[in-house]
Symmetry: D2
Subunit: 292 residues, 4 copies
């Protein structure tokens, strides 16, 4: 099958390769001419036979909006756009409406797999109308992992990104779970070798997982993670998960506390803890640590 | 190899079977005569050749203490006792000292595997002196899963139960992570089929795990878990994990909040939320919900 | 001074009374004719001399938007609108721009005080340009409590509602703090009389506060809060506080967990705890509580 | 009334002064001879008429145990010991039993007031049998603040320290509440002057309190707390509160998260956040911050 692919960064570039390996014809466009197959988005559209399918794989927010707007002008009725980036699910309905005004279909696809996707396949969570999703089946089939899992048509427009967002929220709390356990084990005198404890957990335990395997890999590279700083970014999807939970009055204590731990990790000095120190000093004459 | 096994409940009974399947000679004792191979603990000791090995698999606290005390009297120097139950790690050093006074060795073993252990093997986290642990190797080999993982000599006496305790703490937060994500997905209109989203995550995602597989099994049995009450027990090890963290000034936000969620799930009506309602009423004249 | 007041509910009605007691001329409008001084918003505007000041005290969101829109048409350049309701701070800049297009000034005022405000005065947190705020001084002076505190010009448009929103976030966590302590004391055998413990804290302690006084009042009415259900609403400002924190990557663990406790209090049966129960059953054969 | 006072540090020294100001005869002992009225504990006992009362005001744990042991030998039947230090409530019953074996009474007193107690009085939460507590009434009367509050006989032996411990747990979460709100306000552009917002809250708001007054004092000394480090100690009572809650299966999310925030504030680099960074790098190739 023929597909246009917009955005050829780390993810998009690997997806092009995986799709071509599966025998599909991919016309890729990127603002970086060294990565791009064509000179412009208009070129890309010209190179595809109608009805066209264009997969957008650019950063969420402004960049995605820009490409959607341009495709709205360039594409024709019965064409289909897939947003495979990390867009917020609330953008999807807006994009679907804009494109629908031109007779163009829209599908949102949450994509998991990171740097391992090229080799192992990408897990896909897809939202949209059945007729649009069905047209994409050969592409989804090529991108997804072999085996029975790794693909779902989760629901209406937005459901794909929503499911991917919740996936990432769960991921935050799972990572935090292992991280808390690791720190506690490292603190205790009786345990000689925390790395080997983690390694042993990879079979027969309740907590075996792919993330655990990755933790063991990380510890094999740097047993006590001494080369790293305790500094963790967040990518937006954790934040959106908490906001979606607040909208629906769903308590998310573990996921939220995991997000906050990342926020705190990025502060050189915690303003709120200065206030705690100041209050302790006010009522108890407790010593405070001053900056020199 | 020959081993005595005290406690033939759900876990102990299956372990006897797995050990026998591996060709070991197991003399089992249980207070329930229908399960027991011998009439008494003294009988069990008589039936073993010196140096003896006795694996204790009874509930933590009083019952384990009782068996350890009796074995201290019945066993002889160079014998070894393994506590494979869910004892608190702080009990291990005490038990090791008591038995050491009689010349008897002590090993603590954290055992994971639940009802799946008979078939898949039990993950083992072991603490104790090398000479005592080494004697047990054939037993550990038979109990553990096939393959390279599932067994670790974690450190000194107590390290086995400590590692298992942390394993369970991590398990609490992982379960909470999936549970929070599931509830949020169930609340959202655009997602049609949460069970299929979970199923799809079993390959290619960052959050694939054995617990995820179990979640899918549970949803296959009861898609919206309508037959269950939102009521979750805790087994002690989550509590001990938090207490150990407090002792070492390690923040465990995700694990602790997961424990508290279980506490709250067991309250018919939350006392603290009554106070919140009372205060809102005091300052704002907000309506409260009364018990008719 | 002359002022129009739109919205004469519990808060607005009391504010009219307090302003009149201070000698101001208040023209009140409410959709309920029994409360209203005039027949319509147009009437209210007619009854005021230019430059007019109109205080809006209606529910946040749609109702406030409607009144702002209408006032935009009815008022004239140099008039001023004050939004004293519980609007989200992000609405303020929008409202200010809309009114500014007509030459009308805008001030946002966060108001605290609840049912006690008529007697004790209302704490006011105000945002807006100095020229608009200064015109309102006599009104603020009449509404605020006597004494040196209870009024602040917090900053630009939006700052008043933002400060009030954070006030409410802090309030959530303080209420939760007392509620947690109360529940723990009620659980312990050695403490005979929790109400008297709370009463004693009203002087000499670090935790004395107005909320503590209210807690004592509530316990005097119902010592063990047996007439209440553990069910707590939230008013929006707690949610917005968490969302603002997420926008600024500020960790708010205590405030957020207090919000989540309220969410959980309103669930008859916790979906996420069903998943926890289901998982425990899957791996451990743990008994679950079924709905008979 | 005549009383012996053991421990003349910051708290004990001020209490001696307040008791003497009230006309009581205080014989003070401290290991520091410059502070002490007598040469030894035996001397102190000699200087008191039977039945004697000795107030112990030394650090919790070992030091308190030592003094209790010595008083058990030195005192006589019908004498009474008060432990006014920050002992864990679980120590109280043990101390009461030890002293009871010698016919000596025991009272535990939780004392709040810090550096302000000398002037304003100390809030007292007392546990013990009525006959022992009643003997102390004149002392309690002199120490407590004027006015109707600030003293409670909370219950049996241990209830005084338990109530004080819960007081401190509540204090942790209240401090955290203000600290979170302050940090959020400081982050927002529209709010010009956070200190004045805090100051305004001192009247008419739901969150007015003594701690708020202290926060304003602290901000008056250092408006943005720039001279402080975000580093907060904890004193033991917050930890014990969480442990007591775990014992009773009471969820304490706000208090616990406040304790954990202090733990985290004391880590130069968070081990658990290193693990988060390592995992992100493993699955996503995300850049990590290395220690150059």
């Amino acid at each position: 099958m023929q597909i246009g692919l917009v955005g050829l960064g780390k993810m998009g570039g690997n997806m092009r390769e995986r799709l071509r390996n599966a025998g599909h014809t991919v016309v890729g466009y990127d603002t970086n001419p060294e990565l791009s197959d064509v000179a412009s988005l208009a070129d890309l559209v010209d190179r595809l036979d109608a009805p066209r399918t264009v997969w957008v794989m650019v950063p969420a927010g402004g960049p995605t909006q820009l490409v959607i707007d341009q495709l709205g002008s360039l594409l024709k009725p019965y064409d289909t756009v897939v947003d495979g980036g990390n867009s917020r699910w609330t953008d999807d309905e807006k994009h679907a409406k804009e494109l629908s005004a031109h007779g163009i279909g829209f599908v949102d696809a949450g994509v998991s797999g990171g740097v391992w996707g090229l080799q192992n396949g990408y897990a896909l969570m897809v939202g949209g109308e059945k007729e649009h999703v069905d047209r994409l089946k050969p592409i989804f089939e090529a991108l997804k992992p072999e085996g029975p899992y790794g693909y779902v048509h989760a629901g209406k427009v937005g459901a794909g990104h929503f499911a991917k967002m919740v996936h990432n929220g769960i991921e935050y709390a799972m990572m935090q779970a292992y991280a808390e356990g690791w720190e506690l084990l490292e603190k205790v005198d009786s345990v000689d070798n925390v790395r080997e404890v983690f390694r042993s957990w990879q079979d027969g335990t309740v907590i075996r997982s792919w993330l655990l395997d990755l933790a063991v890999s990380a510890l094999d590279e740097d047993e006590h993670l001494e080369k790293l700083k305790g500094y963790a970014q967040d990518s937006g999807e954790g934040r959106w998960t908490v906001e979606a939970a607040i909208d629906h009055a769903v308590p998310l204590p573990a996921i939220t506390t995991s997000l906050f731990a990342r926020f705190a990790s990025r502060q050189d000095d915690s303003p709120q803890m200065k206030m705690i120190a100041a209050l302790r000093n006010q009522f108890g004459g407790h010593a405070v640590e001053s900056k020199e």
